[in-house]
């Protein structure tokens, strides 16, 4: 057997093994929406003595693998924290290299043979897109257009995003929408009725998806770093200590088992 045949056999075996494990996981409720904070690319670069920026490329292939596992399992929504507004504060060279990488990968998404077309995934870019440079913004718009007809699953890429910015934007939009009603407000008592939780939620960038069931942050950091604050209120938080480029199938399985256990425990609590 030559290398190519061996690789093919290995890939088929792994795929089959995954299908078996997914079959077992599917016995209990599966999460509908998983979110990832992809932390640890730079540390991975340093640890393996790679050129600055190589860590992000390795991180990208980890991302593709995780997306494949999620969509194979039947998870409908996957959200990833690709670039925070805070990250603009990094060195201009790093920011530019990240932007270039993202533009390259976004173009890749639109190709025929890409993962998103394989699994019928609709792509959304979530965040304050006005902060991006023109070419990335245009690439993102093209990708959203090209995948608009896909309906089997959804990928939300948070780029130029922070939760506090999302909430502020939502507040601004709600005020503007209700401006006419607020203008004629004479009686202070009715103030409370004008803007409600539903109005704020409607204007969130993330309104296109339900709240996440699990948030997985790699590299052992236990903080949300301004990611999905509003939406994470009742969500399970997982923090495996591996760096993002090292994340694998077993970490996903662990997170899902944790989710299922939690659900079972919560339901038991409700009954007592």
């Amino acid at each position: 057997m030559d290398i190519k045949q061996r690789t093919q056999m290995y890939t088929s075996l792994s795929s089959f093994a995954r299908k078996c494990i997914f079959g077992i996981l599917s016995v209990a409720t599966l999460p509908n929406h998983i979110a990832f904070i992809m932390d640890g690319n730079r540390r991975y670069s340093k640890q393996h003595n790679l050129v600055d920026g190589e860590g992000h490329k390795v991180g990208y292939s980890s991302l593709m693998s995780m997306l494949r596992y999620c969509y194979e399992l039947g998870v409908k929504y996957v959200t990833v924290y690709a670039f925070s507004i805070e990250n603009f504060k990094r060195s201009p060279e790093e920011v530019q290299s990240l932007m270039d990488l993202m533009e390259e990968k976004i173009e890749g998404l639109i190709k025929e043979e890409s993962l998103v077309n394989q699994y019928g995934v609709r792509v959304y870019f979530i965040g304050n897109l006005k902060l991006l440079n023109k070419s990335v913004r245009l690439a993102a718009a093209r990708a959203m257009d090209a995948t608009a007809k896909n309906s089997k699953a959804v990928l939300l890429i948070c780029i130029a995003y922070t939760s506090t910015d999302e909430i502020l934007h939502s507040v601004e939009e709600s005020c503007e929408e209700k401006w006419d009603e607020i203008k004629v407000l004479n009686d202070k008592k009715h103030e409370k009725d004008i803007i409600s939780v539903l109005d704020i939620e409607r204007h969130m960038y993330m309104a296109v998806a339900p709240d996440p069931d699990i948030i997985i942050r790699t590299s052992g950091e236990t903080r949300l770093s301004n990611f999905l604050l509003w939406q994470s209120s009742n969500c399970l938080l997982c923090s495996p200590s591996v760096l993002w480029p090292e994340i694998g199938f077993r970490h996903l399985v662990q997170a899902i088992l944790g989710f299922q256990y939690n659900l079972y425990y919560l339901n038991k609590q409700k009954q007592t």
């Binding site: 604050l229 509003w230 209120s233």
Partner: protein, 265 residues
């Protein structure tokens, strides 16, 4: 309980070294003063399960929860933590059986009346954050009294979140800003994160954002506590039920917090 220390910078190296030695003698278990969190938030969870484990009715656990508060607060004061907040009652908790809700409200009354008084006598500032309009008249009165009395205190600021919801905190801020926009006080595109934060319940707090959030009883979620304020908080989860979470456990949490932050510096 609250000792104000002023450090005078010294040109004499020996004096400075002694100063450092004295400081590390005061701090337990290798904690570093410079890495101490300014604001610790605690999501109080597990009171009922603690009681049920001991064969008691669930709601009695809330009394045990109240008992563990003072040793924890004493430690926080000793470590000169500036703000400590406790998620005592969430807006979702109204769904619990009436008997338990009434019992819990009585525990909160005692907390404000008796413990609040003791904290005030030690120079701590006590506040209650949440939608007080839905609370009993007694509770509203006790809350107003202790807040007024202790407002000028300069010791640790202790906040009890009662009938609090992170989402409603944000909505309230939104409504207030909407009115200001309507009255022409600000333009809607002038609203930024600083202006927004000044409308939240934590606007009166010197350090509104928790550096460290601790949740007891093994649940790994935020459950609608201070969502905006916790954007960058370090989250620490422990399996211990709240009545079992003592000063030593808090030290362990602080060591973990300092360990993580040391790496990042």
């Amino acid at each position: 309980m609250n000792s104000e220390k002023t450090r005078v910078p010294s040109a004499n190296g020996d004096a400075a070294l002694n100063d450092k030695e004295n400081m590390s003698k005061e701090l337990p278990a290798g904690l570093k003063e410079e890495l101490m969190p300014k604001h610790i938030a605690m999501i109080v969870d597990g009171n009922r399960r603690w009681a049920v484990n001991k064969g008691l009715p669930g709601m009695f656990g809330h009394n045990a929860g109240r008992t563990i508060l003072m040793p924890l607060l004493r430690l926080c004061s000793q470590l000169q933590i500036k703000v400590v907040s406790f998620f005592v009652f969430s807006t979702e908790n109204w769904r619990r059986p009436t008997e338990e809700v009434d019992f819990l409200m009585k525990v909160v009354e005692d907390l404000l009346r008796i413990d609040g008084e003791e904290l005030h006598s030690h120079g701590c500032r006590v506040s209650v954050m949440g939608d007080k309009t839905k609370l009993s008249e007694t509770l509203q009165k006790l809350s107003a009294e202790i807040e007024e009395k202790s407002r000028a205190n300069s010791g640790t600021h202790i906040i009890f979140a009662v009938n609090y919801s992170g989402k409603h905190d944000i909505i309230r801020a939104c409504r207030s800003l909407a009115t200001q926009v309507k009255d022409g006080v600000i333009l809607s595109n002038q609203i930024n994160e600083t202006i927004f934060a000044q409308e939240l319940y934590t606007k009166f707090v010197d350090f509104p954002c928790p550096d460290l959030v601790i949740r007891t009883s093994g649940e790994i979620r935020i459950s609608n506590f201070m969502l905006w304020q916790m954007a960058y908080s370090n989250l620490y989860f422990t399996k211990k039920y709240f009545p079992d979470f003592g000063p030593n456990d808090l030290i362990e949490a602080l060591l973990a917090f300092q360990g993580q932050n040391d790496v990042l510096c």
